[in-house]
Symmetry: C2
Subunit: 233 residues, 2 copies
Protein backbone atom coordinates (compact mmCIF):
# COMPACT_ATOMS: atom_id res chain seq x y z
CA UNK A 1 0.00 0.00 0.00
CA UNK A 2 1.25 3.46 -0.81
CA UNK A 3 0.09 7.02 -0.64
CA UNK A 4 0.75 7.63 -4.32
CA UNK A 5 -2.42 7.92 -6.37
CA UNK A 6 -2.79 8.58 -10.05
CA UNK A 7 -5.86 9.05 -12.13
CA UNK A 8 -6.46 6.95 -15.24
CA UNK A 9 -9.25 6.93 -17.82
CA UNK A 10 -10.48 3.43 -16.93
CA UNK A 11 -9.34 0.52 -14.79
CA UNK A 12 -8.11 -2.50 -16.75
CA UNK A 13 -6.05 -5.47 -15.43
CA UNK A 14 -2.97 -4.27 -17.34
CA UNK A 15 -2.49 -0.62 -18.23
CA UNK A 16 -0.11 1.18 -20.57
CA UNK A 17 0.68 4.70 -19.44
CA UNK A 18 2.03 7.45 -21.69
CA UNK A 19 5.10 9.69 -21.30
CA UNK A 20 3.39 12.20 -19.03
CA UNK A 21 2.38 9.59 -16.45
CA UNK A 22 5.73 7.82 -16.78
CA UNK A 23 7.50 11.11 -16.01
CA UNK A 24 5.20 11.59 -13.03
CA UNK A 25 6.22 8.16 -11.67
CA UNK A 26 9.89 9.09 -12.15
CA UNK A 27 9.38 12.34 -10.28
CA UNK A 28 7.86 10.36 -7.43
CA UNK A 29 11.04 8.18 -7.46
CA UNK A 30 9.01 5.05 -8.04
CA UNK A 31 10.54 2.04 -9.78
CA UNK A 32 9.54 -1.34 -11.16
CA UNK A 33 7.96 -3.45 -8.44
CA UNK A 34 6.67 -0.45 -6.46
CA UNK A 35 2.97 -0.21 -5.82
CA UNK A 36 0.56 2.69 -6.03
CA UNK A 37 -3.18 3.26 -6.27
CA UNK A 38 -5.02 4.20 -9.43
CA UNK A 39 -8.48 5.67 -9.64
CA UNK A 40 -10.81 6.36 -12.52
CA UNK A 41 -12.58 9.50 -11.34
CA UNK A 42 -15.88 7.62 -11.31
CA UNK A 43 -15.66 5.90 -7.95
CA UNK A 44 -13.50 2.93 -8.90
CA UNK A 45 -10.02 2.42 -7.57
CA UNK A 46 -7.42 -0.36 -7.46
CA UNK A 47 -4.00 -1.25 -6.12
CA UNK A 48 -1.42 -1.39 -8.91
CA UNK A 49 2.16 -2.56 -9.30
CA UNK A 50 4.65 -1.04 -11.71
CA UNK A 51 5.57 -3.82 -14.18
CA UNK A 52 7.62 -1.71 -16.61
CA UNK A 53 8.94 1.83 -16.42
CA UNK A 54 11.18 3.85 -18.71
CA UNK A 55 11.35 7.49 -19.76
CA UNK A 56 8.59 7.22 -22.34
CA UNK A 57 6.06 4.81 -20.93
CA UNK A 58 5.02 2.62 -18.04
CA UNK A 59 2.98 -0.54 -17.58
CA UNK A 60 0.91 -1.20 -14.48
CA UNK A 61 -0.58 -4.49 -13.32
CA UNK A 62 -3.78 -3.87 -11.39
CA UNK A 63 -5.32 -5.73 -8.49
CA UNK A 64 -9.07 -6.03 -8.07
CA UNK A 65 -10.99 -2.81 -8.66
CA UNK A 66 -13.09 -1.71 -5.71
CA UNK A 67 -15.60 1.03 -5.12
CA UNK A 68 -13.95 3.75 -3.08
CA UNK A 69 -14.93 3.89 0.56
CA UNK A 70 -14.43 7.64 0.48
CA UNK A 71 -17.74 8.36 -1.23
CA UNK A 72 -21.00 9.38 0.36
CA UNK A 73 -23.73 6.73 0.14
CA UNK A 74 -25.95 9.22 -1.74
CA UNK A 75 -24.95 11.77 -4.37
CA UNK A 76 -24.31 15.17 -2.85
CA UNK A 77 -24.60 18.30 -4.99
CA UNK A 78 -23.39 21.78 -4.21
CA UNK A 79 -25.15 24.54 -6.13
CA UNK A 80 -23.31 27.80 -5.69
CA UNK A 81 -23.71 31.27 -7.17
CA UNK A 82 -20.90 32.65 -9.33
CA UNK A 83 -18.37 34.39 -7.09
CA UNK A 84 -15.55 36.77 -7.85
CA UNK A 85 -11.83 36.04 -8.10
CA UNK A 86 -10.46 32.87 -6.56
CA UNK A 87 -13.39 32.34 -4.27
CA UNK A 88 -14.94 29.67 -6.47
CA UNK A 89 -11.66 27.75 -6.50
CA UNK A 90 -11.63 27.77 -2.71
CA UNK A 91 -15.22 26.58 -2.60
CA UNK A 92 -14.70 23.84 -5.19
CA UNK A 93 -11.59 22.63 -3.37
CA UNK A 94 -13.27 22.41 0.03
CA UNK A 95 -16.48 20.97 -1.43
CA UNK A 96 -14.46 18.22 -3.11
CA UNK A 97 -12.78 17.35 0.18
CA UNK A 98 -16.18 17.26 1.84
CA UNK A 99 -17.48 14.72 -0.63
CA UNK A 100 -19.69 16.43 -3.22
CA UNK A 101 -20.45 14.49 -6.39
CA UNK A 102 -20.91 17.66 -8.42
CA UNK A 103 -20.79 21.42 -8.22
CA UNK A 104 -23.47 23.29 -10.16
CA UNK A 105 -22.63 26.94 -10.77
CA UNK A 106 -25.58 29.32 -10.68
CA UNK A 107 -26.41 32.71 -12.11
CA UNK A 108 -28.49 34.57 -9.55
CA UNK A 109 -29.79 38.14 -9.34
CA UNK A 110 -26.93 39.36 -7.13
CA UNK A 111 -24.22 36.98 -8.42
CA UNK A 112 -20.82 38.60 -8.92
CA UNK A 113 -20.82 37.53 -12.57
CA UNK A 114 -23.36 36.60 -15.25
CA UNK A 115 -21.15 34.02 -16.90
CA UNK A 116 -17.83 32.24 -16.63
CA UNK A 117 -15.20 31.70 -19.32
CA UNK A 118 -14.36 28.24 -20.59
CA UNK A 119 -10.78 28.61 -19.33
CA UNK A 120 -11.96 29.43 -15.85
CA UNK A 121 -14.43 26.56 -15.84
CA UNK A 122 -11.66 24.18 -16.90
CA UNK A 123 -9.47 25.57 -14.16
CA UNK A 124 -12.19 24.84 -11.59
CA UNK A 125 -12.42 21.30 -12.93
CA UNK A 126 -8.66 20.90 -12.43
CA UNK A 127 -9.00 22.23 -8.88
CA UNK A 128 -11.62 19.53 -8.25
CA UNK A 129 -9.35 16.88 -9.72
CA UNK A 130 -6.39 17.94 -7.61
CA UNK A 131 -8.48 18.15 -4.44
CA UNK A 132 -10.00 14.77 -5.11
CA UNK A 133 -6.53 13.28 -5.34
CA UNK A 134 -5.35 14.98 -2.16
CA UNK A 135 -8.39 13.93 -0.19
CA UNK A 136 -8.00 10.31 -1.39
CA UNK A 137 -11.27 10.29 -3.27
CA UNK A 138 -11.81 8.04 -6.25
CA UNK A 139 -14.43 10.38 -7.70
CA UNK A 140 -13.67 13.76 -9.18
CA UNK A 141 -16.74 15.98 -8.85
CA UNK A 142 -17.95 17.51 -12.08
CA UNK A 143 -18.00 21.30 -12.09
CA UNK A 144 -21.02 22.15 -14.24
CA UNK A 145 -21.31 25.30 -16.34
CA UNK A 146 -23.65 27.89 -14.83
CA UNK A 147 -27.41 27.74 -15.23
CA UNK A 148 -29.89 30.38 -14.21
CA UNK A 149 -31.34 29.77 -10.77
CA UNK A 150 -34.83 29.41 -12.27
CA UNK A 151 -33.52 26.62 -14.50
CA UNK A 152 -31.78 24.71 -11.69
CA UNK A 153 -33.31 21.26 -11.14
CA UNK A 154 -32.42 18.90 -8.31
CA UNK A 155 -33.20 15.39 -7.17
CA UNK A 156 -34.18 14.51 -3.61
CA UNK A 157 -33.77 17.26 -1.03
CA UNK A 158 -32.51 20.79 -1.55
CA UNK A 159 -31.31 22.90 1.39
CA UNK A 160 -30.92 26.62 0.80
CA UNK A 161 -28.80 28.61 3.22
CA UNK A 162 -30.99 31.58 4.04
CA UNK A 163 -30.15 34.00 6.87
CA UNK A 164 -33.03 34.50 9.24
CA UNK A 165 -34.68 31.21 8.37
CA UNK A 166 -35.65 28.93 11.26
CA UNK A 167 -35.10 25.62 9.48
CA UNK A 168 -32.33 23.32 10.68
CA UNK A 169 -30.76 21.10 8.07
CA UNK A 170 -29.81 18.43 10.59
CA UNK A 171 -33.42 17.80 11.63
CA UNK A 172 -34.71 17.80 8.04
CA UNK A 173 -32.01 15.74 6.36
CA UNK A 174 -33.16 12.41 4.95
CA UNK A 175 -30.14 10.22 4.36
CA UNK A 176 -31.87 7.85 1.98
CA UNK A 177 -32.09 10.24 -0.95
CA UNK A 178 -29.82 12.52 -2.99
CA UNK A 179 -29.07 15.79 -1.24
CA UNK A 180 -28.26 19.20 -2.69
CA UNK A 181 -27.24 22.35 -0.84
CA UNK A 182 -27.50 25.79 -2.38
CA UNK A 183 -25.76 28.98 -1.34
CA UNK A 184 -26.05 32.45 -2.79
CA UNK A 185 -23.63 35.18 -3.76
CA UNK A 186 -22.30 37.97 -1.56
CA UNK A 187 -25.50 39.76 -0.55
CA UNK A 188 -27.47 36.51 -0.71
CA UNK A 189 -30.42 35.43 -2.78
CA UNK A 190 -33.21 37.95 -3.24
CA UNK A 191 -36.41 37.29 -1.29
CA UNK A 192 -38.09 36.47 -4.60
CA UNK A 193 -35.44 33.90 -5.46
CA UNK A 194 -35.65 32.25 -2.04
CA UNK A 195 -39.44 32.21 -2.13
CA UNK A 196 -39.46 30.66 -5.59
CA UNK A 197 -37.10 27.87 -4.49
CA UNK A 198 -39.18 27.15 -1.41
CA UNK A 199 -42.26 27.09 -3.64
CA UNK A 200 -40.48 24.41 -5.65
CA UNK A 201 -39.91 22.30 -2.54
CA UNK A 202 -36.57 23.51 -1.20
CA UNK A 203 -35.95 23.84 2.54
CA UNK A 204 -34.60 27.17 3.78
CA UNK A 205 -32.10 26.52 6.58
CA UNK A 206 -30.05 28.67 8.91
CA UNK A 207 -26.36 28.64 9.73
CA UNK A 208 -26.89 30.78 12.81
CA UNK A 209 -27.52 34.47 13.37
CA UNK A 210 -24.24 35.72 11.91
CA UNK A 211 -23.65 36.83 8.33
CA UNK A 212 -21.38 34.37 6.53
CA UNK A 213 -19.31 35.24 3.50
CA UNK A 214 -20.49 33.59 0.31
CA UNK A 215 -17.42 31.33 0.32
CA UNK A 216 -17.86 30.22 3.94
CA UNK A 217 -21.54 29.20 3.78
CA UNK A 218 -21.08 26.21 1.42
CA UNK A 219 -18.17 24.84 3.47
CA UNK A 220 -20.21 25.19 6.65
CA UNK A 221 -23.23 23.38 5.19
CA UNK A 222 -21.16 20.60 3.67
CA UNK A 223 -19.16 20.35 6.91
CA UNK A 224 -22.39 19.77 8.78
CA UNK A 225 -23.29 16.93 6.41
CA UNK A 226 -19.78 15.45 6.72
CA UNK A 227 -19.92 15.64 10.51
CA UNK A 228 -23.32 13.96 10.62
CA UNK A 229 -22.12 11.28 8.29
CA UNK A 230 -25.20 9.82 6.70
CA UNK A 231 -24.37 6.19 7.11
CA UNK A 232 -20.79 6.47 5.88
CA UNK A 233 -18.24 4.12 7.29
CA UNK B 1 -31.25 51.15 11.78
CA UNK B 2 -28.24 51.01 9.52
CA UNK B 3 -25.68 48.54 8.28
CA UNK B 4 -22.76 50.69 9.42
CA UNK B 5 -21.00 49.29 12.46
CA UNK B 6 -18.01 50.63 14.28
CA UNK B 7 -16.09 49.23 17.18
CA UNK B 8 -15.47 51.29 20.30
CA UNK B 9 -13.60 50.59 23.52
CA UNK B 10 -16.70 50.74 25.73
CA UNK B 11 -20.34 51.74 25.37
CA UNK B 12 -21.27 54.98 27.15
CA UNK B 13 -24.41 57.10 26.64
CA UNK B 14 -22.40 59.84 24.93
CA UNK B 15 -19.15 59.08 23.14
CA UNK B 16 -16.34 61.25 21.80
CA UNK B 17 -14.58 59.73 18.83
CA UNK B 18 -11.09 60.68 17.62
CA UNK B 19 -9.87 61.77 14.16
CA UNK B 20 -9.52 58.23 12.84
CA UNK B 21 -13.12 57.29 13.56
CA UNK B 22 -14.35 60.71 12.39
CA UNK B 23 -12.57 60.19 9.08
CA UNK B 24 -14.14 56.74 8.83
CA UNK B 25 -17.61 58.29 9.24
CA UNK B 26 -16.79 60.83 6.53
CA UNK B 27 -15.65 58.07 4.19
CA UNK B 28 -18.98 56.33 4.79
CA UNK B 29 -20.70 59.64 3.81
CA UNK B 30 -22.50 59.82 7.13
CA UNK B 31 -23.57 63.14 8.58
CA UNK B 32 -25.05 64.60 11.74
CA UNK B 33 -28.35 62.94 12.51
CA UNK B 34 -27.46 59.67 10.78
CA UNK B 35 -27.54 56.50 12.81
CA UNK B 36 -25.19 53.56 13.04
CA UNK B 37 -24.43 50.70 15.38
CA UNK B 38 -21.51 50.57 17.75
CA UNK B 39 -20.14 47.47 19.42
CA UNK B 40 -17.57 46.96 22.14
CA UNK B 41 -15.98 43.67 21.08
CA UNK B 42 -17.24 42.04 24.26
CA UNK B 43 -20.79 41.23 23.27
CA UNK B 44 -22.41 44.61 23.88
CA UNK B 45 -23.87 46.70 21.11
CA UNK B 46 -26.09 49.76 20.75
CA UNK B 47 -27.79 51.96 18.21
CA UNK B 48 -26.11 55.39 18.00
CA UNK B 49 -26.85 58.75 16.41
CA UNK B 50 -24.21 61.16 15.17
CA UNK B 51 -24.61 64.31 17.30
CA UNK B 52 -21.50 66.17 16.04
CA UNK B 53 -19.11 65.51 13.20
CA UNK B 54 -16.18 67.44 11.80
CA UNK B 55 -12.80 66.54 10.33
CA UNK B 56 -11.12 65.94 13.68
CA UNK B 57 -13.74 64.41 15.90
CA UNK B 58 -17.26 63.11 16.27
CA UNK B 59 -19.78 62.74 19.06
CA UNK B 60 -22.29 59.90 19.21
CA UNK B 61 -25.40 59.62 21.34
CA UNK B 62 -26.13 56.02 22.18
CA UNK B 63 -29.39 54.18 22.70
CA UNK B 64 -29.73 51.35 25.17
CA UNK B 65 -26.87 48.83 25.07
CA UNK B 66 -27.99 45.27 24.35
CA UNK B 67 -26.28 41.92 24.26
CA UNK B 68 -25.76 40.95 20.67
CA UNK B 69 -28.11 38.28 19.31
CA UNK B 70 -25.29 37.05 17.08
CA UNK B 71 -23.47 35.18 19.85
CA UNK B 72 -23.68 31.51 20.68
CA UNK B 73 -25.37 30.76 24.02
CA UNK B 74 -22.17 29.02 25.21
CA UNK B 75 -18.56 29.99 24.59
CA UNK B 76 -17.10 28.20 21.60
CA UNK B 77 -13.34 27.73 21.30
CA UNK B 78 -11.36 26.69 18.27
CA UNK B 79 -7.96 25.19 19.06
CA UNK B 80 -5.93 24.90 15.87
CA UNK B 81 -2.36 23.87 15.13
CA UNK B 82 0.01 26.44 13.66
CA UNK B 83 -0.31 26.38 9.87
CA UNK B 84 1.84 27.83 7.14
CA UNK B 85 1.34 31.01 5.14
CA UNK B 86 -2.09 32.60 5.05
CA UNK B 87 -3.93 29.48 6.09
CA UNK B 88 -4.34 30.65 9.68
CA UNK B 89 -5.86 33.91 8.46
CA UNK B 90 -8.41 31.97 6.43
CA UNK B 91 -9.22 29.79 9.43
CA UNK B 92 -9.52 32.72 11.85
CA UNK B 93 -11.76 34.59 9.41
CA UNK B 94 -14.16 31.69 8.88
CA UNK B 95 -14.10 30.71 12.57
CA UNK B 96 -15.08 34.26 13.50
CA UNK B 97 -18.01 34.17 11.09
CA UNK B 98 -19.06 30.84 12.56
CA UNK B 99 -19.20 32.26 16.07
CA UNK B 100 -16.10 31.26 18.02
CA UNK B 101 -15.36 33.16 21.21
CA UNK B 102 -11.63 32.51 20.94
CA UNK B 103 -9.01 30.85 18.81
CA UNK B 104 -6.22 29.06 20.69
CA UNK B 105 -3.15 28.42 18.54
CA UNK B 106 -1.36 25.15 19.25
CA UNK B 107 2.14 23.80 18.81
CA UNK B 108 1.86 20.12 17.90
CA UNK B 109 4.39 17.49 16.82
CA UNK B 110 3.69 17.94 13.11
CA UNK B 111 2.71 21.63 13.18
CA UNK B 112 4.11 23.70 10.31
CA UNK B 113 5.79 26.04 12.80
CA UNK B 114 7.01 25.97 16.40
CA UNK B 115 6.15 29.58 17.10
CA UNK B 116 4.52 32.66 15.65
CA UNK B 117 5.83 36.22 15.56
CA UNK B 118 4.11 39.01 17.44
CA UNK B 119 3.41 40.83 14.17
CA UNK B 120 1.69 37.81 12.72
CA UNK B 121 -0.32 37.23 15.87
CA UNK B 122 -1.47 40.85 15.78
CA UNK B 123 -2.39 40.43 12.14
CA UNK B 124 -4.54 37.43 13.01
CA UNK B 125 -6.24 39.50 15.69
CA UNK B 126 -7.01 42.17 13.09
CA UNK B 127 -8.43 39.51 10.77
CA UNK B 128 -10.74 38.44 13.62
CA UNK B 129 -11.78 42.03 14.23
CA UNK B 130 -12.53 42.65 10.57
CA UNK B 131 -14.44 39.38 10.21
CA UNK B 132 -16.42 40.08 13.34
CA UNK B 133 -17.50 43.40 11.88
CA UNK B 134 -18.44 41.89 8.53
CA UNK B 135 -20.42 39.08 10.09
CA UNK B 136 -22.28 41.57 12.34
CA UNK B 137 -20.91 40.15 15.55
CA UNK B 138 -20.53 42.26 18.65
CA UNK B 139 -17.72 40.08 19.96
CA UNK B 140 -14.26 39.93 18.48
CA UNK B 141 -12.76 36.53 19.22
CA UNK B 142 -9.39 36.64 20.95
CA UNK B 143 -6.59 34.96 19.03
CA UNK B 144 -4.39 33.46 21.75
CA UNK B 145 -0.64 32.97 21.43
CA UNK B 146 0.34 29.33 20.88
CA UNK B 147 0.63 26.83 23.70
CA UNK B 148 1.98 23.31 23.47
CA UNK B 149 -0.74 20.74 22.96
CA UNK B 150 0.14 19.10 26.27
CA UNK B 151 -0.45 22.44 28.01
CA UNK B 152 -3.81 23.10 26.36
CA UNK B 153 -6.66 23.22 28.87
CA UNK B 154 -10.35 23.42 28.02
CA UNK B 155 -13.69 23.80 29.77
CA UNK B 156 -16.69 21.60 29.01
CA UNK B 157 -16.44 19.37 25.95
CA UNK B 158 -13.53 19.04 23.55
CA UNK B 159 -14.01 17.47 20.11
CA UNK B 160 -10.90 16.45 18.24
CA UNK B 161 -11.14 15.88 14.48
CA UNK B 162 -9.42 12.56 13.99
CA UNK B 163 -9.57 10.66 10.68
CA UNK B 164 -10.73 7.09 11.13
CA UNK B 165 -12.49 7.77 14.41
CA UNK B 166 -16.07 6.55 14.71
CA UNK B 167 -17.33 9.32 17.00
CA UNK B 168 -19.95 11.73 15.68
CA UNK B 169 -19.88 15.22 17.13
CA UNK B 170 -23.59 15.77 16.56
CA UNK B 171 -24.61 12.85 18.77
CA UNK B 172 -22.13 13.76 21.53
CA UNK B 173 -22.61 17.50 21.67
CA UNK B 174 -24.06 18.84 24.90
CA UNK B 175 -25.41 22.33 24.30
CA UNK B 176 -25.46 23.31 27.94
CA UNK B 177 -21.70 23.62 28.40
CA UNK B 178 -18.75 25.36 26.77
CA UNK B 179 -17.54 23.59 23.65
CA UNK B 180 -14.09 23.45 22.09
CA UNK B 181 -13.07 21.88 18.81
CA UNK B 182 -9.48 20.98 18.02
CA UNK B 183 -7.91 20.34 14.63
CA UNK B 184 -4.36 19.35 13.79
CA UNK B 185 -1.78 20.44 11.26
CA UNK B 186 -1.26 19.06 7.76
CA UNK B 187 -0.53 15.40 8.46
CA UNK B 188 -2.72 15.44 11.56
CA UNK B 189 -2.01 14.82 15.20
CA UNK B 190 0.24 11.90 16.02
CA UNK B 191 -1.42 8.83 17.51
CA UNK B 192 0.28 9.65 20.82
CA UNK B 193 -1.14 13.18 20.78
CA UNK B 194 -4.66 11.97 19.99
CA UNK B 195 -4.49 9.24 22.62
CA UNK B 196 -3.28 11.70 25.26
CA UNK B 197 -6.16 14.08 24.52
CA UNK B 198 -8.70 11.27 24.69
CA UNK B 199 -7.11 10.19 27.97
CA UNK B 200 -7.79 13.70 29.22
CA UNK B 201 -11.48 13.42 28.29
CA UNK B 202 -11.61 14.66 24.69
CA UNK B 203 -13.91 13.05 22.12
CA UNK B 204 -12.36 11.95 18.84
CA UNK B 205 -14.83 12.64 16.03
CA UNK B 206 -14.91 12.01 12.31
CA UNK B 207 -15.63 14.30 9.40
CA UNK B 208 -16.11 11.40 7.03
CA UNK B 209 -13.76 9.03 5.26
CA UNK B 210 -11.96 11.66 3.17
CA UNK B 211 -8.75 13.46 4.07
CA UNK B 212 -9.42 17.14 4.75
CA UNK B 213 -6.82 19.86 4.50
CA UNK B 214 -5.83 21.36 7.83
CA UNK B 215 -7.62 24.60 6.91
CA UNK B 216 -10.87 22.87 5.89
CA UNK B 217 -11.37 20.70 8.98
CA UNK B 218 -11.99 23.56 11.46
CA UNK B 219 -14.49 25.24 9.13
CA UNK B 220 -16.32 21.94 8.64
CA UNK B 221 -16.55 21.26 12.40
CA UNK B 222 -17.64 24.79 13.23
CA UNK B 223 -20.08 24.68 10.31
CA UNK B 224 -21.66 21.59 11.81
CA UNK B 225 -22.11 23.41 15.12
CA UNK B 226 -23.54 26.47 13.37
CA UNK B 227 -25.95 24.32 11.36
CA UNK B 228 -27.14 22.50 14.48
CA UNK B 229 -27.60 25.77 16.26
CA UNK B 230 -27.47 24.99 19.94
CA UNK B 231 -30.48 26.95 21.02
CA UNK B 232 -29.58 30.09 19.12
CA UNK B 233 -32.36 32.29 17.90
Amino acid sequence: MTDTRIRVAALTPQMDLGPREARHLHVLRLKVGDSLRVFDGGGGEAEAEIAELDAGHAVLTLGEAVRSAAETPFPLTLAVALLKGDKLSDVVRAATELGVAQVQLLVTARADAREIGVQKLMRLQRVAEEASKQSRRAVTPAVLAPVRLTDFRWEGQLFVAQPGSAGRMMTLLDWSAPVAVLTGPEGGLTDEEATALIGRGAHAVTLGPRILRAETAPVALLGAIAAAGGGEA
